[in-house]
Amino acid sequence: MGFFLETMFGGLMAGMLYSLVALGFVLIFKASGVFNFAQGAMVLFAALSMARFSEWIPQWLGFDNLVLTNILAFAVSVALMVMVAWLIERLALRKLVNQDGITLLMATLGISYFMDGAGQLLFGSATYKIDVGMPKEPMIVLENLFEGGLLLSKEDLYAAAAAAALVTLLSLFFQKTKTGRALRAVADDHQAAQSIGIALSRIWIIVWSMGGIVALVAGVIWGSKLGVQFSISLVALKAFPVVILGGLTSVPGAVLGGLIIGVGEKLSEIYIGPMIGGGIENWFAYVLALAFLLVRPQGLFGDKIIDRV
Amino acid sequence: MATKKIGDVILDVKNISLSFGGVNALTDISFDVREHEVRAIIGPNGAGKSSMLNCINGVYAPQKGSITFRGKSFSHMDSHAVAVMGIGRTFQNLALFKGMSVIDNIMTGRNLRIKSNLLLQALRIGPAQREEEQHREFVEHIIDFLEIQAYRKTPVGQLPYGLQKRVDLGRALAMEPQVLLLDEPMAGMNVEEKQDMCRFVLDVNEEFGTTVVLIEHDMGVVMDISDRVVVLDYGKKIGDGTPDEVRHNEDVISAYLGTGH
C-alpha cells in the first residue's frame, strides 16, 4: 500500500509538471484561439535562457550571490520571452489573422522548429543546470502509518505549490478582470473582436507574453528537477493530451488533466507495464486522450464545440 | 401557356418540432408538397425556414414529427438516404467546395451514379474512363443550361456571388432530383440576375417536372412563380395556400409589417 501511494504521489508530481506546460497552452488557446504547438519549444527556450543567463550573469558582473543571480536571470528571461512574443505576433500571427485552425496549428509547428533551432544556436545544446535553491533531499512522512514512511520529494511539493499559485492567479485573471474577459472575446472570433475595437495586436502580444512567462516558470521547475536538455520539448508534447482531457479552454482542466495523466502513466507503467514489456508511459497519455476525444471531445471542463451549418 | 399537371402529395411534413437547447426553432409544423408544383416557404428572418429544409435533408434531427416521402415515413432523415431518394438542395450560404473548379463541383452531384470502384478509378481504363466521360457530358449540359460555360475551369472561390449561386443550383441539378429544395436562391442578386434565376427554376420545373420547394424573400418572385405558399413566423406556421390567399391573410400581413400598422 505504501508503494502504491508513493507511486501515486510520484505520478501526481509528474502530472503537476505536465499541467504547468499545459497552463501556458490553455492560456494562449483561451485568449487567442491558437493551438500552440510551440509551447514545448517555448518551455525549452525559456529554460535554456534561465540556465545560461544564471551562468553568465555572475561571470559578466563578477559576483556570486545565488539569489540575486537567479532574480536577474529570471528578469532577463522574462524580457526575452516578451520579445519572443512580440516577434511571433509581428512576423507570424498578424499575417495569419482569420486563417482556419489547421493553418495556425501548422504555423505554430513551424515556430516550434524555429525556436528549437534558435534556442540551441543561442544557448548551446548540452545539458544545463538550473539551481533556484530548491531542496533536493527527499523527505519521509507518515512513518507511523506506513512502515518506513512514504518517500516524497520536497522539490515536487514546492513545484506543486508554485503551480497551484499560478493556476489560482490565472483563473482569477480570466474570471474577474476586464482584460481577461476581452481575451476570451478575442479567442472566440478574431474578426468580430477587431470590429468592436479590440486592438488585436496588443492583446496577442500580452497573451503570448503571458504564455511565455508561464512557459518560463514551467521551464525553471522542470529544469531544476531534470536538468535543461532538448528532451524537455519532446516530453512537453504530452501537454496536448493533458489539455484534451481537461478541455482546451479550462485552466482547472489543465491541472486536473495533468494530474490524471501523471498518475495514470505511473500506475499503468508499474502495474500493467510488466505484462506487456514496459514503456507504456510513451503512449498512455495519447491513447487516453484519443479515448476522450471519441467519447467527450470537449474534455472534462471545456466548452462544447458546436458546428453551425 | 399550358397549365402543368400537378400531381399527388410527394413530400409530407407532419408536426415537426425542432429545438436547440432552450430555443424552439420549429413548433408543430405541418404542410405538404405536391409533385411538379413550385411550393414557396416564406417568413421573416429567423422564422425557421432554413431549419425546416435542414430537417428534410437530415442535417438536423427534429425532436418530434415525421417526414413522409412518396409514402415512406421517417422520424428523422439521413442525409445520404435523402440524396439517394432524389431530394436535392441548394444552400443559403453557398456550401460550395471552394477548392474545386465549377465542373468538379457540379460533378460531385453525379457522385451517386458513379459505380466504378477504387481500383478501376486508379487504373482509369475501360468502364471507369467511359463513366467519367458520360458524366462529364451530362454536367456540360447543365453548364449550358445555366450559361456558365466560360467559367467551367475556374475555381468557384474566385467567381462572383451570382455565378456561385448558379453553380450551387447546377450541383443540385446534377443529382437529377425529383424534389429540389432551394434556400434563398436569389439572395443578393440584382434584377437581371433574379430574372435569370427565375427562368432557370421555372425551366427545371416545367421541362423536367422537378418539384421545387423554394425559400424566398422577394415577394414579387414568390407571387409570380409559386403555385402554393407556406408562411412561417417564429417557428410556427401562420399561413398555407395559394399566393393570393396568403397575400390577404391577416396573420401574414401583421407578421411582416408588425402589429399596430
Binding site: 528549437d116 493530451p241 | 445520404h80 477548392g99
Partner: protein, 354 residues
C-alpha cells in the same frame, strides 16, 4: 510565345480529361522522363544516387501518400512516420520469414498492413477533426513506436532492436548497385504516381475534396463521409507503407524503430505543406526541397569559407524549415506547386507582361 494553347482544341471530353492536355506540357514531361530514365542512370555518381535521387524518390512517394490524406481530404495526420514503420516492418517480416519471397510482394504486403493500421487509426476522424484529430494521430505515432520497439516478433526477435535486409533482387535481377535501386524506386514512384493522379482527378478525388471543403454539404449531395475519410486513410497509408518499406530496404538497408519517429512525421508534413497541399506535383517539389536543403546548408558555408559544425548546420536547418513553413503559410499556403502554376501562367503570356 512558346507556351501557348493556340490551335490545341479538344473535340472530345476524353481529350479534355487528359492529365497533360497541353502539348508543351506533354513534351516537357516526356523530356523529364527521358532524363530520369536515361540521363541520370548514365551520368549520376553513386553519391548522387544515395544522397539525392533515391531519398528524393522515396520521400516523394510518401509525400504523395500524405498529401492525399492531408491535402486532398483535409484530414491532418501527425503519425505518418508510424505508418511508414508499419510498412517497413511488415515488409521485413514477409521478406525474411518466407524464403524466396519476391520483393514486390513484400512491398505490397507492407503497404497492405499499413493500410489496415491506417484505417484503424483513421476511425477517430469520423468523430473528430482538425486539431483534435492531429492529437489523436500522435497516439498512433507513439503507440506504434512502442509496438515496434517492444513486441519481439516484429523485429524477428532481434536482440539489438535493429534489423536489416540482405541483398535485394527484383524477380531474379540482382539489385546491388545504386543505379539498379534507383531504377526500382523510379519505376514504383511512376506507377504509384499515375495511379494516385488518376484517383485524385476521378470521382473519389472529388469526394475527398468535397469532404475537405465542406463535409456537411458533401453528405447532402450523397457522399458518404465515412467511406470518403476511411478510403483516404486507406489509400494514403498504403502508399506511405510502401514508401516506408522502400525507405527501409533500399535507402537504409538496416534500421531501428527510431528511424520512423515523430521527426519523420514532421518532415513529411513539412514536405507536403511547402510543396503544396492538394497537389501531386507539389509532393515532388516538397520532397526535393527537404532533401536538397540540408545538402545545400552543408555546402554553402564551405563555398563561402565559413565551415559550420554539423550541430550548427542542423540547428540552422531547423530554423530555416520553421521559418519557411510560416513563410509559406502566410504568403502562399498552396506551396511551391502554386508558385509553379503562377510561373507557368506568366510563361503563357511571355513575352507580354499581361
Amino acid at each position: 510565345m512558346f507556351y501557348r494553347e493556340n490551335g490545341q482544341f479538344k473535340s472530345t471530353y476524353r481529350a479534355d480529361l487528359q492529365i497533360f492536355p497541353i502539348l508543351q506540357d506533354r513534351i516537357a514531361i516526356g523530356m523529364l522522363l527521358l532524363v530520369a530514365m536515361v540521363a541520370v542512370p548514365l551520368l549520376a555518381s553513386d553519391y548522387m544516387f544515395r544522397a539525392v535521387f533515391i531519398p528524393f524518390l522515396i520521400l516523394s512517394l510518401a509525400a504523395i501518400g500524405l498529401n492525399i490524406l492531408v491535402g486532398y481530404c483535409g484530414q491532418i495526420s501527425l503519425g505518418t512516420g508510424a505508418f511508414m514503420a508499419v510498412g517497413a516492418y511488415a515488409a521485413f517480416n514477409l521478406q525474411t520469414r518466407f524464403d524466396g519471397m519476391p520483393l514486390i510482394v513484400s512491398l505490397i504486403g507492407g503497404g497492405l498492413c499499413a493500410t489496415v493500421a491506417g484505417v484503424i487509426f483513421g476511425l477517430p476522424s469520423l468523430r473528430i477533426r482538425g486539431l483534435y484529430l492531429a492529437v489523436a494521430t500522435l497516439a498512433a505515432q507513439f503507440f506504434i513506436d512502442w509496438f515496434t520497439n517492444r513486441v519481439k516478433w516484429v523485429t524477428n526477435d532481434s536482440s539489438s532492436g535493429s534489423v536489416s535486409v540482405g541483398d535485394l533482387n527484383f524477380f531474379g535481377l540482382a539489385l546491388n548497385t545504386s543505379v539498379e535501386k534507383y531504377l526500382l524506386c523510379l519505376m514504383i514512384v511512376l506507377v504509384v504516381g499515375i495511379l494516385a493522379k488518376n484517383l485524385v482527378r476521378g470521382a473519389i478525388g472529388r469526394e475527398w475534396m468535397a469532404i475537405r471543403d465542406m463535409d456537411v454539404a458533401a453528405a447532402v449531395i450523397g457522399i458518404r463521409p465515412v467511406y470518403a475519410k476511411l478510403s483516404a486513410f486507406a489509400v494514403s497509408s498504403f502508399i506511405v507503407g510502401v514508401a516506408g518499406a522502400l525507405w527501409a530496404f533500399v535507402h537504409l538497408g538496416a534500421w531501428e524503430p527510431a528511424a520512423f519517429g515523430i521527426d519523420k512525421s514532421f518532415q513529411l508534413l513539412f514536405m507536403v505543406i511547402i510543396g503544396g497541399l492538394g497537389s501531386i506535383v507539389g509532393s515532388f517539389f516538397g520532397a526535393a526541397f527537404i532533401v536538397l536543403l540540408p545538402l545545400f546548408l552543408n555546402q554553402v558555408p564551405h563555398w563561402l569559407g565559413l565551415p559550420l559544425s554539423t550541430a550548427t548546420a542542423s540547428q540552422l536547418e531547423h530554423m530555416i524549415f520553421g521559418a519557411l513553413i510560416v513563410f509559406f503559410l502566410i504568403v502562399e499556403p498552396h506551396g511551391l506547386a502554386r508558385l509553379w502554376l503562377t510561373a507557368r501562367q506568366k510563361l503563357r503570356l511571355w513575352p507580354f507582361p499581361h
